[in-house]
Symmetry: C2
Subunit: 220 residues, 2 copies
DNA sequence: TATAAAATTTAGTCTTGCCTAAATTATTTT
DNA sequence: AAAATAATTTAGGCAAGACTAAATTTTATA
C-alpha cells in the first residue's frame, strides 16, 4: 500500500535529516514538519512497528530509515524533483517558486505520470536547484560535490546545487548570479567569521557561512 | 478556507447531478462517490449548515448547491478540465487515460498553476472530452448541444462532447471514430429500442440509447 | 388504503493524524 | 554528583470522514 501524504512527508524529512549518517531526532523532525514533538513520537512509533518496518527506532535515540523506508522516501523525492524540473521547464516557474507546488503534487501523481515527465524531460539528473534526482529504480546517484564553505583561497569550481528550499535565500542568490552551473573562484577566506570572498561573473562578493554552507561545488 | 478534497468531490458530483435542474438524492450521490448513503447524509447535513451554506438541503428531498457551493464546485471542475486538457497536450495522455490523474491533481494545484496552464493552453473552451471549461471568473459557458439520442433520420451535426468518464466507453467510441469534432449523420431511427443508425467517416453503425444519450451534438 | 419495498436518516464506532498537559529520561551546569 | 535544563514520551482528547446496524420516512404495489 502507498503511504499516506503525512507518512510520505515524514519519510522524506527523515531521509534528508539522516543524510549525514546520524539518526534524526524527534525535535528536529518536529521542527522540519511543523508538527509538535509529541505527535512525532506517536507517528515514528507507528512507522517503526509496521509489518515491514519503515523506521529503525530506539526510545530517545532518534530514527533511521530501513531499506523499505528509504525506498518509499526516494520515491517521493524523485516525484518532487522531477516535478520541480517539469514545472520550471514547461510552465515557466522560477526556481524559487516551484517548491511549494511540488510539495503538494508529489503525493498524488501516478507512476505513469512520473514516467511521462521523466521521458519528456530526457531523464534529467538534477532538479532546478541542482539536487540529484533519484533514478527510476530508486537509487540516489553518488554526490561528489563539496560545500562552498570548505573551499579556500584560489580554489575554484562550478556550482552544482543549492540545498534547502528557502525561497527568500534562493531569490537572493539569484540576484547575486549564484545559480547552478555558474563558475566561481574563492579569492579570500576570513577566519573566525568564516566569510569567503568569491569572484562570480567578474564581480567580487563576500558570503557568510550560513550561505556558503548551502552552496555545493564541483571543484576544478 | 479551501474545502477539503472530500468536500470538493461532493460538490463536484452534486453539480453534475443537479445540472438537469432537479436535486441530487442521497443514494445517487452515494453511488457516484462510492460512499455509503449513511455517510453521505452526514456530510450533506454538515455542508448545509456551514456558515455560508454550501448546500440547500431538506430531509428526504435531496440537495442543491447554493451560490457559494456552485462557485466552489466550478473551481474544482475548472481545475479538472484544464488539467485533462494539459495532460493530453503536453504529456501525450489519450483521452481515456486522463480522467483519474486529473481527479487527484484537481485538489492540490494552486491558483497560480491554474493560471499558468490556462495561459499555456491558450485559454481553451473545452476539455479533451469536449466538455465546457468554466471561465476564470467561474461561470459555466452556455451549452447549446443536443444529445445524439434526440436526433432523428436525416439530422446531422458535429460531435461536441462525450459525457461521463467511463474509460471503457471512451476507448470503444475512439475505435468507432466517435470523437469530438467528428461529423455524423443519422440515417435511421428504430422506435422501441431507440437505436440510431448513423454515418461516421463514410461508415454506417448502429448505436443504442446508453451510448447515444452520452454523445452531444451541435446540429447543422 | 394497507403492505411491501426502497430510500433516507439516526446512532454508535473506527481510523488517521494532529493537539495539550503532564511525566519521564537524558544532558548540561554548577 | 546533584540540580537544572532540554528532549522525549505518555496519557487523554479532538476533528474529519468513513462504516454498520437499526430506525424511520417515503414511494410503490396490491
Ligand atoms: Mn514514483
Ligand atoms: Mn509534501
Ligand atoms: Mn477528485
Ligand atoms: Mn482555481
Amino acid at each position: 500500500m502507498k503511504p499516506s501524504t503525512s507518512i510520505q512527508d515524514y519519510l522524506k524529512r527523515i531521509y534528508e535529516l539522516t543524510e549525514n549518517g546520524s539518526p534524526a531526532s524527534t525535535n528536529d523532525l518536529a521542527r522540519e514538519l511543523n508538527i509538535k514533538p509529541a505527535s512525532v513520537t506517536g507517528m515514528i512509533q507507528k512507522l517503526a512497528s509496521e509489518k515491514p518496518a519503515l523506521l529503525e527506532y530506539q526510545k530517545h535515540q532518534g530514527v533511521t530509515l530501513t531499506s523499505a523506508g528509504k525506498k518509499a522516501a526516494l520515491e517521493v523525492i524523485r516525484h518532487h524533483r522531477l516535478l520541480e524540473t517539469w514545472l520550471v521547464q514547461t510552465l515557466g516557474y522560477s526556481w524559487d517558486e516551484v517548491h511549494e507546488e511540488a510539495e503538494r503534487l508529489e503525493h498524488v501523481i501516478s507512476e505513469d505520470f512520473e514516467r511521462r515527465i521523466a521521458a519528456a524531460l530526457g531523464h534529467p539528473l538534477r532538479d532546478p536547484h541542482g539536487e540529484l534526482i533519484p533514478t527510476a529504480d530508486l537509487k540516489m546517484p553518488l554526490d561528489d560535490s563539496t560545500p562552498l564553505s570548505a573551499l579556500r583561497k584560489n580554489q575554484s569550481g562550478k556550482i552544482l546545487s543549492i540545498k534547502g528550499a528557502d525561497a527568500d535565500l534562493l531569490r537572493h542568490l539569484d540576484g547575486l548570479g549564484l545559480t547552478p552551473n555558474t563558475m566561481i573562484e574563492v579569492t579570500d577566506y576570513s577566519p573566525f567569521d568564516h566569510n569567503l570572498s568569491i569572484k562570480v561573473n567578474k564581480k567580487n562578493i563576500v558570503l557568510g557561512l550560513s550561505i556558503t554552507s548551502k552552496i555545493f561545488i564541483e571543484e576544478s
